[in-house]
């Protein structure tokens, strides 16, 4: 399994991923860490102790989006439903205002983009291709198709076409963030690979919903966006199953995520075939969570070298 390469890599924690060399295998899930806001809250310690080996932006769209009306959050048993609605300042402001500041983080930048069509995806990707600050591009294909209402990424044919269009627009490493809300995730991963993806990342959030407590006795959806996406420990076992399925199907590297709280959870995803792991919701509980995970993996790896079966 690719985890063995990870384990046996000479440079201790360093990992090779799509031609990028990362200090360790832990990055952030898109949309779960705002480095610019964090810089204001935590000051220079942010760069000094930056927990992620690469930084993934939240999803960027062509035009600015305000996001969904509140409430945007609902807590579930061991999980969180969010209906944030991908607020972002749009491609051009992102490039003009955010990129220069993100470049100061000193880790490779992965820009996550979402379009509603192959054309939009290639426009976004071409714009990113021109920016030297951007090391790799991640495609968020969980965008609903205007006709079917289903995620573009839920249908292998459609997905392959979108990825193909993006591929044609850049030579930078292309990561496809798969949707978990479909019958055959490995087939979608294969379609992404055929379309020219250099890697896949999974899992995104599971479609979920909550009704408003009290008031009209829960008849109204609680979330301003009506439905939302479930993340956190509650879906960790679903993520692991999907990563195992995808690893068996594709040869490109995998970024595994979903409910990672501790090194042992990351270890599971790596052992299941992921090359990198991403920490998302757990960063909300502790902004330094990913640093704990990376340190734990390091320790684990050492002890592993010493006691093969420990």
């Amino acid at each position: 399994m690719s985890s063995d390469e990870t384990i046996l890599t000479d440079a201790g924690d360093a990992v090779e991923f799509c031609g990028l060399s990362l200090a360790h295998p832990v990055i952030n899930g898109s949309g779960t860490f705002d480095a610019i806001a964090a810089r204001r809250a935590f000051g220079p310690a942010l760069e000094r102790d930056f927990p992620f080996a690469a930084f993934v932006s939240k999803t960027i769209t062509l035009s600015p989006r305000a996001g969904n009306p509140p409430p945007r959050l609902w807590e579930t048993p061991g999980g969180l439903i969010n209906s944030i609605g991908l607020p972002n300042k749009g491609l051009h402001a992102y490039i003009a205002e955010d990129l220069p500041r993100l470049a100061e983080l000193g880790v490779p930048l992965i820009t996550n983009v979402m379009g509603s069509s192959a054309e939009e995806f290639s426009a976004l990707v071409s714009a990113c291709d021109e920016r030297s600050e951007i090391a790799a591009i991640e495609l968020n294909v969980s965008c609903p198709n205007v006709e079917t209402g289903l995620d573009i990424g839920a249908d292998p044919k459609q997905l392959k076409q979108v990825v193909g269009a993006a591929r044609a627009s850049t030579r930078k490493p292309l990561i496809v963030k798969l949707t978990p809300n479909t019958a055959n995730v490995p087939a979608c991963a294969a379609a992404a690979q055929e379309g020219g993806a250099d890697a896949v990342s999974l899992i995104n959030t599971l479609r979920a919903m909550a009704l408003s407590p009290g008031g009209e006795r829960g008849r109204r959806p609680w979330l301003g966006g009506s439905t939302g996406g479930l993340s956190g420990p509650a879906l960790r076992a679903v993520a692991l199953a999907q990563v195992v399925g995808v690893a068996a199907r594709v040869s490109i590297p995998i970024v595994g995520m979903g409910g990672v709280q501790r090194a042992s959870h990351a270890r599971d995803l790596l052992d299941a075939g992921a090359t990198l792991v991403a920490v998302g919701t757990e960063s909300f509980r502790d902004p330094a969570a990913a640093a704990r995970v990376a340190a734990g993996l390091r320790a684990g790896r050492r002890s592993e070298a010493v006691f093969p079966t420990a």
């Binding site: 949309g31 959050l73 607020p87």
Partner: protein, 275 residues
């Protein structure tokens, strides 16, 4: 550094030790040993969770940390005012001396100081009085400003929370203590022909909106400490959105919790304290 400027928060949650928890009518005052924290600015908050057994309550919750105003600082101590409204606050109310508690912070924008020779009117509703306590401490450290405190509560048990501040005029919905009626009735008296007034308010959304509207019509500057459901507290999740003037949303955790009333068209339903 002045008490009005905030130093950055440590970039990790810190394990603090509970010194004690005291009953204050319907509320609890949680005291934790907190030495190395940067001095918070009045109005800032922390994200808090019990170190043990955070979870396993109603509906297998809580899971995420919860946001609480830093209600008071004493040498090496931080104080929080708690109202039990659900599984997270319930668990925190169970904390006892010696228990561990996770805290991230101080976070967010605090109150701005009043202009010279102005009069600060502190308007608090329910558990929303918490940030006004540390604000009162700060204002009194600068004898300069004179301070008026108006607090409103639903009932007598909650009205005992008024002891967190001093010299407060109190209103209760049920008339059990002080003025029988709305806090804003007290406020309008205070604002009557006072051109030096500046309002600092925190409480339930309807109260904040009434205060905002009253101050707007009378051109009285007002700072409102908002609340919202939060997952992170440091700008990462975009979950704490509140509609701002002229469209779009602000993030309560980083653009607030204290905002200038002028930043809002109105205080929306979900932007206030539990009531």
């Amino acid at each position: 550094m002045s008490q009005w400027s905030a130093a950055p928060a440590p970039f990790h949650r810190r394990l603090l030790t509970v010194l004690g928890i005291d009953e204050l009518g319907a509320y609890r005052v949680l005291r934790v040993a907190d030495v190395e924290t940067p001095e918070p600015r009045p109005g800032q908050f922390a994200m808090i969770a019990a170190a043990e057994r955070w979870g396993g309550g109603e509906d297998e919750r809580p899971y995420l940390p919860r946001a609480f105003s830093i209600a008071r600082r004493r040498v090496g101590e931080s104080h929080f005012l708690l109202e039990d409204v659900g599984p997270g606050t319930r668990r925190l109310c169970e904390l006892r001396e010696g228990d561990g508690m996770w805290a991230l912070g101080p976070l967010g924008k605090g109150f701005a100081p009043p202009r010279p020779r102005h009069r600060a009117i502190l308007v608090g509703g329910g558990v929303g009085i918490a940030p006004l306590a540390i604000l009162q401490d700060a204002l009194e450290a600068e004898a300069a400003t004179d301070v008026t405190v108006l607090l409103g509560f639903r009932d007598g048990a909650r009205a005992q929370g008024a002891a967190l501040l001093h010299g407060a005029q109190v209103a209760t919905d049920d008339g059990s203590v002080g003025h029988h009626g709305l806090l804003t009735e007290l406020l309008s008296k205070e604002l009557y022909e006072d051109s030096r007034a500046e309002v600092y308010a925190c409480g339930p959304a309807p109260m904040l909106e009434a205060v905002r509207a009253m101050c707007a019509t009378r051109d009285v500057p007002a700072q409102l400490a908002l609340e919202a459901g939060m997952a992170c507290g440091f700008g990462a999740c975009y979950g704490c959105a509140v509609p701002k003037r002229g469209g779009g949303y602000l993030r309560v955790c980083v653009d607030g919790p204290v905002v200038d009333a002028a930043e809002l068209d109105r205080v929306s339903e979900h932007a206030g304290a539990p009531s």
